[in-house]
Subunit: 301 residues, 6 copies
């Protein structure tokens, strides 16, 4: 069989299989889908707004900052409106283009509400920068923290995504969160509520689930999981979505690397959780938890 | 010494050192090497073929899908032929260009065989999407899974790379696998055999070795290692390559975060392995394995 | 309130808040800041110099290699001078442009010193390639290691960044290190001293702190942490920076996945540290350390 | 005065001057303007549709052509709809976003009508290619004509723009025409009506005005102007727009380089007009017109 | 001879030939040369400043305009300073880097002076837009003129380049002028002095020499040359540079296509010069000049 | 009819029409066509080789020049081989891929022969730069000529394309020539033979035909045509290709703007041809030719 015939046949099989249509039933309505590239541009613009000079144009002075911030913000706002609209349309049940005026109107309102929240986001991030500087002896200055620390990169995306999540935006917040995950290895669900002065050191492999609640002044390390323990199912044997199922971490807690905390347990104020531990019950305030002692053995592997 | 002299001297040292030639002995034959950029484009094209509308052009309707798929597939096929040929030439012993007709012919055959397998790859990925949706209460719809889940990104690359691996392609499958590793932190060797409905939640730090065999309906978490325990050496003290040395994971197994399973052990059907465990022997079907209980200590670090 | 009013108001708030100025006090002096994009280009050029044909132009023969290397190195040297100057200016206290002649002169000197060190860097990397090939049964040839192994990617950036760190360059080495972290999940501080023939298998989640010292012939796995245990503070309750606080790992040590070693402890020559262990005290030479045995329990999560 | 003050002042003056607002009164309504970059992409896509393999993807076979054409056309159609809508909005008087549904609906209708005309456009261009091949002894084959001849480039844009012009599209056709002018130096107004088998040799400096009518089988050279002679004004001393004011060129006419024909004159069937002539009255069918003879003089300049 | 030997030999010959060094004697000093790409970016930024919404970001409202203009202008100013410095260094005789502080200081001053002139440039261009609209019955609105008319593109570059020329900038103004020439076919030397409300219709092939002086309200067509007649040489037989040698065109003159006017002649106020004429002497005010009548001949070519 | 139906129908008509297949009969053989983008890169590389520092990397010193030149030349040689092969395949009659080994072998030979000619090309261009500097009072230095003069841009492409033309390369030389035409408005056929020290001032609209022969020290202006007068046809009424049909221009000739010289006529040594003239017969050596005097008329247009 010739190359062209095989190509043709493959296209036919790829375009007709029912299993495929299951995934892409949106195709029937000819509405554009959210664009991962556009969302990446959006986040880049917002990063240049939140940290002018560090990201985006590297020639920004105190005076010209207004222009850089305003220009980037204006473009970001247009991008956001369009992508949020696409996010709504991705899950809406309006069958014709006209009915999606509603999606568009909501997208415009969300954009304005998001703009108004942005200064608070910036203030929270400033505290996160301080927390990283104060928490890591290797940090030489605040600028190094902003340039390099995965914690700041991940929290920038998270605090943006969390605002959109609270505003009821569909699909988009998760994509923004996942972008930071790909770069930092820190996986924070946009629904997680995180307090002030939060610091994740190194961060690769850290996971923070959707219904997690974290207080102020918390520090965690790479590989820490704040996850769910069990997934209740309904009578049709389908997962019940949206139940509180992740930990509550109170103020001033430290959790060391590769510790795993599962379920709606509470890590009490000021507790310290040692590395490589497996926690599925509450930890009292002020407790100090550690793995049992290691052994010296003949054969490791 | 002037800048230009130092530059010159550095170039001389970089181009003459024997240790350098050791690594790059291919240079003698003046054949182009595999291009990581071209392979990245290849994978992007295949992703747009497997998930039209999600990746690539975001304006795809049910009708126009045929064109998008066919056009991308045609370009992907040309790229693949060229890169597979380069992959063969990278390790072949033909000294002159002419003799590499053999590499070219094999590359063309491999491309056609790969095209014919692609619909099956797509069907497997559709089941993986379902598995992720069914396995994570945070997943709002199938689209979110396709857009955001590292598991799907990693398995897309893996299922492509695994087909090429089975077809005997050199070097290329490993590069494709490593691309997903860089983005997701999930490191699956192209040789690993993975069944239907597989889901890796979060995924950062997960490692699946070359001779691993995974059944259907398996779920594993971030930081799980399915690795090798010992590396037998031959009489010349060189590693014996290609021996079965990674775990067999049977159907319906769950392995929690940061568990490490090493060697040709079997995790029996339906077993559940707790997080942060260290497993180097068989686990019986249906077993529930966990770390010993933690202690409350005075001093954590 | 109209969109334009909200935009305006947001810009005002973003540009006036004192918390913001705290982070970006550099803006007053109108000096360009280090550019992450330029540093990414720099590293790409150096990678094409260290591994010609693999990265950069894929058409390089033994003869034309001189031109490719010389051309890339010349551009890299210009980029480096400019970025190192910006790095110095980022923390210097010179208030006017003129005084920064000193920063420029130092940047030019550093560039030349770095060029002279580059062949040694290449030789070290060649040994790292060999170590990876010898240490992984899945490695088919040296070329595959260079193309795909995160260990080589991370060590390329580290060995470059470490030279700059030793030359007293500000900010830049950390950014270069973080670039490899983002791609590989391997987080090595530029200050860490690493011996010959080092290999990190898989690597995601591995952390190596600023004052770590690693001997020759060491192999570690994904998720291993060589971290700090405690952070002494001065009388003003601020972290004391620069103290030795990370482990010393002697020659021929192997540390398996997700092991955590904290503080200025010594892992003695030839020791083997099992996975998922938590080590905060010295390990004698030749010791074999492992987690206590797991339990078979009723309920895992 | 400092740099920042001057920058600020300049921005103020640029944003407040009334003369500026005159030009950009559109700004009040916050509708996106036509994008020259998007239109350039549109034309590139249409060129790849009209001449597959020559432009766009260079790997197109007879079978895979359908996919390349369909995919490019689908993207072109989406781009066209959006830009035509912007073109309408650019001149519409609807003050609010909602009312522009009318612009959007018209844009969608125009796109469909344009799609249906495209095969005729392609057939006309095929004849233009033949005319160029038959009219130039230097042409080696049809492919060279398609790749290189400015005449084909200019007529591709013109025949596209003319269809849009006939469909009543605002602003866009002129931008498309000007794109070809910038590349070829051939300036054809989208309103000009041009018959079959038209050939402009070399073409730089050729001008064809809005109300020009050209028959079949006409050949003209570089620097030929088919222009307007006088511009009647209305009682308010403003130009009357839209009057027929450019030449009619009948079948089989040849006009040599740098000839200028002005006003609603007719160049009769089969006439030959010599170079560097200045024509403002009718030329009879079959006439042969030339400049008066040159002189041999003492001093040229 | 092998390919590599020939390559090597060619490089040697290209790098050693004396004729080559003649052209590139700048190479000895290792100063960066002006970058055509950077100047293209500069002009794009300035065009987006002078015509916001038309070029650059197409989402600009009356309010957000300040930010777009300020941000683009800030970046343009930095680019301009660097390129002007390189322009000075390109011809300066300072042999060491330090002495070029003078070039840098002048570049900074020139940038500020240029910024202050920019609003006037914009006002002149606004009048040029009006002149085009009033002078062409095919123009539908001011926006079309800004988007499409080569006259506006050429005058934008010219009015920018002319300001730099007056400020004594080396090399740069000519490159900026040539950029517009490449796109429009209109070749205006930056030294030419051009009055208000100037319009070049179609424009391809129009040439305006260095010492030309053009009054207000002048309209010229494609292919018109305002050139030099003779080039006086000095005693060493070298051209005397800088003498007035191009025409003076007074107010309200019209010059039709392909007319050539050479030398320091004056076209008097309100004169009309017909197409394809050759003028080397003064034309009185109000005169109407034309080619002698054409002939009807047997044989044209 | 829906959008998707119309799209589908249009694709069908575009892919089935016989007139279309006429143009693209190459599609049957599935060989890649020449790529205009690749040729543009080729010319950019060669320009950076011929004028290092001016084009390509702007940081080139006397020492590092070797690297820049060698690296660019190596890449150019690979690009050239591939495109020349495609050019041959574009017109070859080999039906299967294998037979095209001949095209590949010829392409490799041509590349080597071209490399050997390149230093002569550079020497000729150096003389062209001198001719421009000596011939234009506005030229401030040689560098300005290299950066800005369309004459140099056009001659760079021409002298490259002419070497390939002499080596018997198909299609490619014409595409390279047309690239310069698009930028400069100067249209030189690659077959034209041009002597030393040639200068085209301004250049827009200049045309030089395939069989033109130009001596040393010739200067011509914008809009000059050296064209063909008549196109003899064979007994089948098809153009006879390849006959000498363009002018011979002897040493030291000057031809002013918009002069048209047609047919195999000779412009004798040292002749001066005035602007806007129409020449179809020989001009004796030393002659001074001009248009007849203009008239002062009542009505110009």
């Amino acid at each position: 069989m010739t190359r062209d015939r095989i190509l043709d046949q493959t296209v036919n099989r790829l375009c007709d299989a029912p299993s495929f249509r299951l995934m892409v039933n949106r195709l029937a309505y000819d509405k554009p889908m959210p664009s991962v590239d556009a969302l990446a541009s959006l986040v880049d613009l917002l990063r240049s707004v939140l940290f002018p000079g560090y990201f985006g144009d590297s020639h920004v002075s105190a005076e010209s900052q207004r222009y850089a911030v305003g220009s980037a913000l204006n473009r970001a706002a247009h991008l956001l409106t369009e992508q949020v609209e696409r996010g709504y349309c991705f899950v809406c049940t309006h069958q014709d283009r006209g009915a999606c005026e509603e999606c568009r109107t909501r997208a415009q309102e969300v954009t304005l509400a998001f703009l108004e929240r942005l200064p608070e986001v910036r203030d929270l991030l400033a505290l996160d920068v301080e927390a990283a500087f104060d928490g890591d002896p290797a940090a030489k200055n605040h600028g190094e923290v902003i340039f390099c620390y995965p914690s700041i990169r991940a929290l920038t995306n998270h605090r943006i995504a969390h605002e959109l999540y609270k505003l009821g935006v569909d699909v988009i917040p998760r994509i923004i969160g996942e972008m930071a995950h790909a770069v930092t290895g820190i996986d924070i669900h946009p629904g997680a509520r995180i307090g002030r002065r939060f610091f994740i050191d190194h961060g690769t492999g850290t996971v923070i689930g959707e219904t997690t609640i974290i207080g102020d002044n918390v520090r965690i390390y790479q590989g820490v999981t704040l996850g769910a323990k069990s997934f209740p199912k309904d009578e049709k044997d389908r997962l019940v979505k949206g139940l509180p199922r992740h930990p509550i971490v109170e103020d001033d807690v430290i959790i060391y690397s590769n510790a795993t905390v599962l379920g709606r347990v509470t890590i009490g104020k000021g507790a310290v959780v040692g590395g490589n531990t497996w926690i599925t019950t509450d930890v009292p305030a002020g407790a100090r938890i550690s793995q049992p002692p290691r052994e010296n053995v003949q054969q490791v592997v």
